[in-house]
């Protein structure tokens, strides 16, 4: 009897989670149906976003994402190598650095926005620019990047390390020829997850990369990402809802593609890196 109740409860709970998600997909689809087309991707926005498409935003988003990864990936890999190769997992310093990373991951994104504004835009004089936004964003995705790369590196079999020591390989040779190639799928997953996190982020960019709608001329220009565009159209532009929803559909589609890519690389759910 109790077990049958449990069955019922389980299905009800599942419905509680899945029905709102289905409603969300339907609502976005309905709102955006008239707007969504190939032209939407290729045209620049007009009248504060009420007309036209999102081409300029795709360009800004691409620049910010590329720069963010350009900073986060090398630093993240370096830090992950330091954690997995130079420090034993149970050493004091490794635990301390792990604590710092957990803290960084827990800092609210709006605080990264405040810090990015003060440090990159004001102190370093970069202003509201793609560069400030990308740098602030790279700090935010750093913990995720480091953790997933570290996991991949620690998973390289112990026997390889013993063989390295027996052969007296140089550290650099070991890292470049064996460790990185072996850990490559896990590192790729880390990069994709970081890219997804960066694409999804809005609060960090509000006062670092700014709101400007036209195509950026240089990296010191302000540029608006897709997520900031959704926010601005929905909240500040009367009549902006259909295009906000259409932009959201494009953004979610991009993220779904990234998610499928992760699955492709891993062939199993990547639970731990997300948590």
């Amino acid at each position: 009897m109790a077990d049958r109740m449990a069955w019922l409860t389980g299905w009800v709970l599942l419905a509680l989670v899945m029905v709102p998600v289905a409603l969300m997909v339907m609502a976005l689809w309905q709102q955006s149906a008239d707007v969504l087309s190939m032209g939407f991707l290729l045209e620049d926005p007009g009248r504060a976003g009420r007309s036209g498409g999102i081409a300029a935003l795709l360009i800004s988003t691409g620049w910010i994402l590329a720069l963010c990864l350009l900073v986060a990936v090398p630093v993240g890999l370096g830090c992950a190598l330091y954690l997995s190769e130079s420090l034993p997992a149970d050493s004091r310093r490794a635990q301390w650095l792990g604590g710092v990373l957990d803290m960084l991951a827990a800092v609210p994104s709006i605080v990264y926005g405040l810090f990015g504004y003060q440090f990159f835009a004001i102190t370093l004089g970069l202003g509201f620019s793609i560069l400030s936004g990308a740098l602030a964003l790279s700090l935010m995705v750093l913990p995720l990047m480091i953790r997933s790369a570290e996991q991949a590196m620690r998973a390289v079999p112990m026997g390889y390390r013993q063989a390295r020591d027996a052969l007296a390989l140089s550290r650099w040779g070991w890292v470049r020829r064996i460790l990185l190639p072996c850990a490559a799928p896990g590192i790729a997953v880390g990069i994709i997850l970081s890219a997804g996190r960066a694409l999804a982020e809005t609060a960090v960019l509000l006062f670092t990369a700014g709101y400007v709608l036209r195509r950026p001329d240089s990296l010191f220009d302000s540029g608006r990402t897709l997520s900031v565009h959704i926010y601005d159209l929905a909240m500040n532009v009367p009549g902006g809802m259909p295009r906000a929803a259409a932009t959201a559909v494009v953004l979610v589609a991009l993220l779904v593609v990234l998610n499928l890519l992760v699955r492709r690389v891993l062939r199993q759910p990547m639970t731990e890196a997300l948590v």
Binding site: L97, S109, Q118, A203, A234, V252
Partner: protein
């Protein structure tokens, strides 16, 4: 150690570079705290007591954040109350009652976890707020914020719970089966209590995430600075306040926003430490 000096140059450079990267990660955290402190400290010393007052009138130099602190707490607590039982029970159900559903549901839930908070906020504006408005106007409210947040918390809370249950030794289940315990009794008396520290630790972490969430809350809560008198009243959270006012704030007003950022870091830091404690993680 003896051979350190005879390492090839490339190896010594590599070691140095890696150490620098590790240092950089620590510097980022330190930098964030220092920058916020430097901006906010003079203000906190002069007006520190004022931020606990109820009046937020930056134009008149009144920076009472109490209603917004309460707003943040209320919205997050209700979201957690709604989301945590659903996530925990669903995770347990998937693992012990419907193992064949577990993989596909977890995959779907991971996808949900990746959906941007602005998109959740947009959904709230399109569907939830009009719906609550039909019931009790104005719709944009504490309840709307909590419901949207709850939907955002469920995926990660579910994944954390699933991982905590997965770490239980299999022999508990075997022993339960040998004793012919009902699965519900087994779950309630043995498995959930055993996994409780891990689950609660994960949920505490989600509470920190809820407090720090900005965009979704900003879009559906109505953003009126007030003590909410019911769940249908609009509220403004600390994070929403920063996002709304940073664009035009100057002088002390801007510094007050930095002070609220500092408050957010402090609270999420404390929650993280509580979570470490519960999960038995040690960090030196």
């Amino acid at each position: 150690m003896i051979t350190t000096s005879s390492l090839p140059l490339s190896d010594r450079l590599l070691g140095l570079a890696l150490r620098l990267c590790g240092l950089l990660a620590a510097l980022v955290l330190g930098g964030i705290v220092v920058v916020l402190l430097v901006r906010a400290l003079p203000f906190l010393i002069n007006e520190g007591a004022g931020i606990w007052q109820s009046t937020w009138q930056p134009g008149q130099g009144e920076y009472g954040m109490a209603p917004m602190i309460a707003g943040s707490l209320f919205v997050s607590v209700l979201a957690l109350v709604l989301a945590a039982p659903v996530a925990v029970l669903l995770a347990a159900w998937l693992r012990y009652f419907a193992p064949r559903l577990r993989r596909p549901v977890l995959a779907g839930v991971e996808l949900m976890a990746g959906i941007p908070s602005v998109v959740y906020g947009l959904w709230g504006m399109l569907v939830l707020v009009p719906w609550i408005n039909q019931w009790v106007p104005p719709g944009a409210s504490w309840l709307a914020g909590s419901l949207v947040l709850a939907l955002m918390i469920v995926p990660l809370a579910l994944l954390v719970t699933d991982a905590a249950l997965g770490q239980l030794p299999l022999r508990y289940q075997r022993a339960g089966e040998a004793l012919a315990l009902s699965r519900v009794g087994m779950l309630r008396r043995v498995l959930l209590p055993r996994a409780a520290p891990g689950i609660v630790g994960g949920v505490v972490l989600q509470f920190g995430r809820a407090l720090g969430e900005t965009m979704a809350v900003l879009m559906v809560c109505g953003n009126v600075v007030q003590w909410p008198d019911s769940v249908f009243a609009p509220v403004r959270t600390l994070t929403a306040n920063i996002a709304l006012e940073m664009a035009y704030a100057t002088g002390d007003h801007r510094v007050a926003l930095f002070a609220s950022g500092l408050l957010l870091i402090a609270v999420t830091g404390l929650l993280l430490m509580a979570s470490w404690r519960l999960r038995g993680v040690s960090h030196g």
